[in-house]
Each structure stands twice: as C-alpha cells, then as structure tokens.
Amino acid sequence: MTDCRLTVTPSIEYAIRAHGQETYPHECCGALLGRDGHVSALVALPNTTEEGPRRRFLVRPTDYREAERRAAELGAELLGFYHSHPDHPARPSQYDLDHAWPTFAYLIVAVAEAKATDMTVWFLKDDRSSFEEGTLNHGENPHPDTAEAVHR
C-alpha cells in the first residue's frame, strides 16, 4: 500500500544532517511533513527517551500531536520521522522494527564521529515482519527556505 519512495530537497537533507551532528553523540529525532512523498518541512523534536539517548529516541505523544498540528497548519501531511544513529550504520535496528508504525517513512542518518554520513529511508511491511528499504530521491530545492526546522 505504501509507495516506498521519499523525496527530500537539499536544504531538508542539510537540516537533518545538521540536527544529527548537533545532538551527537545522542540521537536526534523529528517529523517529516509534506505531500505525496515529497518532504517540504521538518519539525525537529526533543528526544525524550529515558533509556539513554545515545542508542534510543522517543517522540512523546504531545510532540506527536504538535507535529500533526504543524502539518495541518502547513496544509501538509505527516509523512514520517527521521532519527540519527550515532556511530552506527543507517540501518533500522530490531528496536526500530518493534516500535515502527505502518505507512510512515523512517529516515535514518548515520553520524560517525560527529559527522553525518549515510542517509536511508525505510517503510514497515504490512505484516510487521521487517522493514523495506525505500528509495531516497534528492529533489530540487523549490524554495530555499522551505526546510524549516523548528527547534524547541
């Protein structure tokens, strides 16, 4: 049911990498907003995990609601979430799989020694058995200021 593709503009990509580097060695997280698989805005969210932010992230329900609210405001949809894997490959973990929501795009950026490297996108299979790797397209930048990162 899911079209396993996600398009991010260079400025969005830059903002995600910057966020991952900023929170290194901890994981960063945030919401991806847009339409039809095209990310047009980000909402950077606080990592509220209590299990150690080096290896975990958690978006609280209140922040989730905030992301949905921002999406509605922008006339967009919540397409998924991004997070970083400090000093770990950009592949989803068992923990990611156990906690995944269907249809959402899960964008992962690897941050090795404070430097953002690989970026991948994943979608949960309908039977929850595993992730399917999606295609990450690097789109044009229609408006340089659309990559809006709302740091709170």
């Binding site: 899911t2 994981e27 992230f57 329900p61 989803p92 973990s93 039977d127």
Partner: protein
Amino acid sequence: MAKILIPTPLRPYTDKQDAVDAAGATVGELLADLTRRHSGLKAHLYNEQGKLRSFVNVYVNDEDIRYLQKEQTPVAAGDTVSIIPSVAGGAETTIDRSVRQQPDHDLPTLTNDEVKRYSRHLIMPEVGVDGQRKLKAAKVLCIGAGGLGSPVAMYLAAAGVGTIGLVDFDVVDFSNLQRQILHSTPDVGLPKLQSAKNKLNALNPEVKIVTHETALSSQNALQLFEPYDVIVDGTDNFPTRYLVNDACVLLGKPNAYGSIFRFEGQASVFATKNGPCYRCLYPEPPPPGLVPSCAEGGVLGVLPGIIGIIQATETVKLIMGIGEPLIGRFLIYDALRMRFRELKLRKDPDCPACGTHPTVTKLIDYEQFCGITAAPEPAKVNSATELTSLELKARLDRGDKLTIVDVREPNELQINRIPGSLHIPLGDVPRRYNELDPDAEYVMQCKSGVRSGKAADFLRSVGFKRVLNLKGGILDWIDKVDPTQPKY
C-alpha cells in the same frame, strides 16, 4: 457510540478517515469494536500477546488512559477517544547485537531431551523455542562461586544457559555452608570450582561449565570476559567490583550486579550501552575499612539467595531480550522489613568510565584505587606492643598480674571466650577506659587482632603505660592453646 480519532499512519486501514465511530462502554470494548470493523488495525495496535503495544497511546478527552483505568476506562456518549503514537527507535545495543539479533540459523537447536527438560519454558510464548535456543547459545561469566555465585550459577544452569564460566580461587570452608548452596559438607576443603562443577553438572549435564581458577586482576580481566555475553558480579570487595565494572564498560558487556551485607542487598544491571555503570552511582570507593565485609559484619544466609536470583533473572531476561531490564534502576532489598525500594539511576555524562569523555580508558590498579596497600610482611612480634598466644599462656601460667580485655561484641563472646577476660566492646572503650587502671598491665584481645590493636592504640594515647595486643586474637589462642573451643 463514541468517536475515535485515527492518527495518520493508521488511516490507510480506516479507508483514509481520520475519525471513525465505534461502540462500547469502555476503551477496551471500543477498541475491540474498532478492530472488528477495520481488521488491518489489529496487528499495529496489539502485540502477539493481545496487549496494546507500548508505543500506542490512547487518550479519552485528552487524558492518557494509563492514568485513568487503562482499558477499563469508561467511555460515555460524546467522549472523544484519540489514538496517539509515540515514535521510538534507535541503534542496536550490545544485547541486540550479541544475543537478540543473532539470526535464527546461527542458534543451536534443541535435542529431544532438552525439549523435555525445558518444557515449562517452551510453553510460554515469551520464551518459546527461540528463547530457549538463545539461552543455549549464551555464555555467562560468574565472578565468584560463593554466596551470590551459588544461586546465580545453579539457576542459570537449570534454565539452560549453554556456557557458564566461573572465576574463583577459594577453598570450601565450613563457614561458607550457611549460604553458599553450591557447596555441601563433604566438599569442605575442596576448591570451590571443583565442588561447583560437580554440583552444576549433576543438575544439568547439557550445560558447559568453564572454570577459571584464578584471582581476577587487571591483567587477566579483559581476556577472561571477552568470550562471554553477560558478566555477573558476585564479588565481596570494592577493588574487584570496580575492576568488573570498568572491564564491562570497556568491552561493552552488561554487568548483572548484586551485593549483600548483613540484612540488606542491592541489585542492578550496569554497563549496557545506553545505561549507567557502577561508577555513575559511586565514582569513588569508600575509604578502606569504612564498609565492613561480610566476614567482618556478617550476612543473613538466605540473603544471597534473593539477590543472586535477581541477578540470574536479569541475566536470563537480557539474553532473551524480554521484559524490562533493571537498567537505570537500583534495587535495594531490606530482609528485616521485607521491603524492596527502587532508586532511579541515570547515566552520568561526567562518569569517568562511561561518560562523554571517559578518563578510564584501560584497567588500573584497583587495590591502590580503593586505598588498600599491600599487606606488610608478617613482621616479627613487636614485644613492646604485642604478644603471641603462647607468650600469653606462659605468662598466665607464671601467675603474672595482667588483665585480658576482650573488645568484641557481646554476641561474639557467646561463641568463645578466654577465661577470666574483661569485656568492653571496642565502641565503648573511649567512654569506659576510666574503669581501668592506667598503671596496670592489659592484654587487648578480639577475634583476629585488628580491633584490639585499635583499642590498644587508644589506651596508650590516653596515658596507659603497659598495654599489649594479642596477635591473631582468639582464633590464634584456640589454634595454639585451647583447641576445645569453637572458631567462627
């Protein structure tokens, strides 16, 4: 009928509607009706055990049902129920990698005998065949085959942990038998590892017991730990405790920690990738001598049973990747009050071992770190301040006028006593020394000579001229002079 608000990722299962109606008097009934109408939702809302997934939050009019009556929370007409995601994830942890993530085909299979043996595990979906195979594949190292190591090793062997390593270099003593249930009366005098291996092999011949008859040290710890998945700390002293912690942090291996003293025990899981370590709790050891060991302070025999079984439970959970591990939580058990308390423990970013900028990058000299200097050479008796049991006996036989002062606690005097001694517990000496004559001759005595040495020093400092310490205490007296009395 109540209205349920559906979050974006679940809308494909509700024909793209962001709100749907469902019937029911409680949240549980409402959700059951919802999943009947939209069957695709079920797998995403509920886990295999039929429980709401941990990252699924349900709100009734802006209140999280976890703080109401959970799934029994009543829903009235006109209420709005919202399903709100928590979004979570993260990179692999050691346990994910080492055990949990191990692909199935790498896990050993179970023999028919093993299936029979572990049937009470296999019938629980949380464990199942996969969990039992993970246990079989796992390697656990127990530091110490004593009070804590006994229940840990016995239950891990019974549960089917494939390889159990034991580090110890001690010999079974009568005083161990009150709590160290790996060892029995006929084992007294045998190396603990030999007795442990016999016991564990008899309990479960399927598991491999690897014995390391050595004192754990900075030189051998990393090499010893390397092949194991989980380290269980059952040590009774601070230098080894810090050594185990630091080696676990350096190798990224979880440390199932436990400690016991008198009537109190502690347990936690340290040094997981994302959790705190022992040094986050205690960056520095206590000054030497401040915290007495079990040999000095005593320990309730059943106490290591409870704490060791908590360590074993955590080990088994870590291996199978089930439940909530005791990470970031510090459990304190009080046997007299029969109470458990739990302290929240956070990873300290400034921790010298596991913090952001660790200063402990290799194993150090832990005896020195804990302020313990090497024991001085067994010096000759200093005749000005000490005397031996045989010298004391000779002087008593000669009829010399001297008084033996026993500075032990009253309960210790019930076990054994040098006839004719005066009793002043060490703690009372500063208050009661004026009962003594500063010009008379005294021989201070305790169990082994340490406490009485302190009492003798004190008396000299307040002007007593002729104070001697009985070297080796009443234990030496019993060995050399009066073997009819019991030793403890």
